[in-house]
Amino acid sequence: MSGRTVVIPHLGRVEGHGGIFVRIEGNRVTQVEMDIFEGSRYYEALLKGKHFQEVQGIITRICAICSASHTVTALQALEEALGVKVSERVHDLRGLLLLGATIESHALHVFALALPDFLGYESVLAMASQYREEVVQALRLKQLGNKIQDLIGGRAVHPVNTLVGGFGKLPRHRELEALAAELEQALPVLDRFVDLAASIPLPQVKPGPTVYVALRPYVEAFRFRGVSLCTSRGEEYPLSAYREVIREFTVEHSHAKHAALEEGTTYMVGSLARLKLWGHYLTGRAKAAFQRLLPDPKDDNPLLNNWAQLVELVHSVERALEICHELLGQPEEPRDLVDYQVRAGRGIGAIEVPRGTLFHEYELDEAGRVVAANVITPTAQNLANLERDLRAGAEAVLVAGNGLSDKELKLRLEMVARAYDPCISCSVHLVRS
């Protein structure tokens, strides 16, 4: 049987590097492989032997876009290991930091990396020829996310104000008032982006039923801090069981580890998963956007993850505004930092970050040095499911259009891969020409 091979050696507009290999026989896809660099094993090795206070400086280098996410998750794990209990205000401020990270990450991905596909442009710069205002507003939204991280974390990338036990410096009321005013202004801008998204028909990719995984929020509301690990099949596990629930494995064709649930089922984490499990908790404009952009709860088209991110973007601005008002109702104080004794221990951190559930686990010795570290990123968890969806995406194109060119097929495959917003990244960013 004659066959063809489609190779995308370098996946554009994905955070980091990725390559896709697809083998087709007739109208049948016989092989799909995606290879990326995913650096969590390297960083785990780097952390071993370091004092816990050095962890943040190293872990935030994993990724510019995800630095706040890694910081908050690492702090949660380290505090559990050290027996440190932080105040509700610290939880709120870390929540605000994560919302800033979500605004930044989703604005970059939805507007600059995914929208050009749907609107038929090669890049966000090409898109500016007809959608200049949208391109400008997209960067302003991303900057708003940076600004939140700057205010709460001490600087926009690689936060330094976030410490084990709390915050070395709290935002002043006048700073929170200024931030709240900017967040208010962002809401009508986001409404226009929701209108734009609603006008775009999504290509259909039907991979079959998908299992979604996300943390149960710590309160009955749409939140990124969670208390247990839930699946869309109705299972619920304590966070301490994450290593048994999530089975990591290596594959020959990839530098990155893949993951599946206990019995080998692949699964999806991220915005779409969170909305599938907890979208009913959304309120306000985010709820309206959710109902408009994702009306069918049974639709497993992975491209919907782009619109799910847009819904979360609206939620993040609304929730950040709520937290600002809550903090403005509290007395202004210079810092919120609890004392603690260094001790040996083990702790797990699990947070819903822009691309999905992020796990950090540390074991410390009596001196506070890292004896063992384990990091499982959302991208590593999504890879096996992404390969499944790439196969479905390729088959859908083959069935729909006889004689489709490799270029068209590649575009569809790239759209599926980008929908997962894989962050391989961050680690490598150099300029190529």
Partner: protein, 177 residues
């Protein structure tokens, strides 16, 4: 030299030569530069330039720049050359620095009044390691001198500053360590 200048190093020092821009920044920090020169670690996201820029008339960006030259080769690109790189390479990985900078120019037209220059260092190895490759490590002093030249400052040895680059794409070989 201009009234004020911003120098931003980009890169990830945990990924070998990807950290070349940060290495140059650290070397500049060890010098007694005038307070009118602001040195900033930009991490790996060049779109933060929009927030880092504070009206400085001169902005020097330093980053690893893979163009297929010998490792350690320095390339100086002005605004036009950067734009060309962004437009001609729309699919370069994620939003690479040239595309990010163009995006920033679209959203912040005031930045167009500043002179923006990229000093690129050709990498040899971009992989998980703390260390720069020998060729790139050897190129750091010359990169520092190049930045000082762009700033109109004398180099460490007190020599006259190199002439600011005016061509769109000027390459110079790195010096041995």
């Amino acid at each position: 030299m201009p009234d004020r200048a911003l120098v931003v190093g980009f890169g990830n020092p945990l990924m070998g030569d990807d950290g070349a821009g940060i290495a140059v920044l650290e070397a500049l920090r060890s010098l007694a530069l005038p307070q009118t020169v602001r040195l900033v670690d930009g991490g790996t996201d060049a779109s933060t330039l929009a927030r880092l820029w504070d009206g400085e008339p001169l902005v020097v960006l330093v980053d690893a720049l893979a163009r297929g030259y010998d490792p350690g080769t320095l390339t100086v690109l002005d605004r036009l050359a950067l734009r060309e790189l962004a437009v001609n390479q729309p699919h370069v990985h994620a939003l690479a620095l040239p595309a990010c900078v163009e995006w920033v120019f679209l959203a912040e037209p005031r930045l167009g009044e500043a002179t923006v220059v990229l000093v690129g260092i050709e990498p040899a190895t971009v992989a998980p390691t703390h260390a720069l490759s020998p060729a790139v490590a050897a190129a750091i002093p010359q990169a520092v001198r190049t930045v000082l030249g762009l700033l109109g400052l004398p180099n460490q040895a007190g020599q006259e500053p190199p002439r600011p680059t005016k061509t769109q794409d000027k390459r110079s070989s790195s010096e041995p360590a």
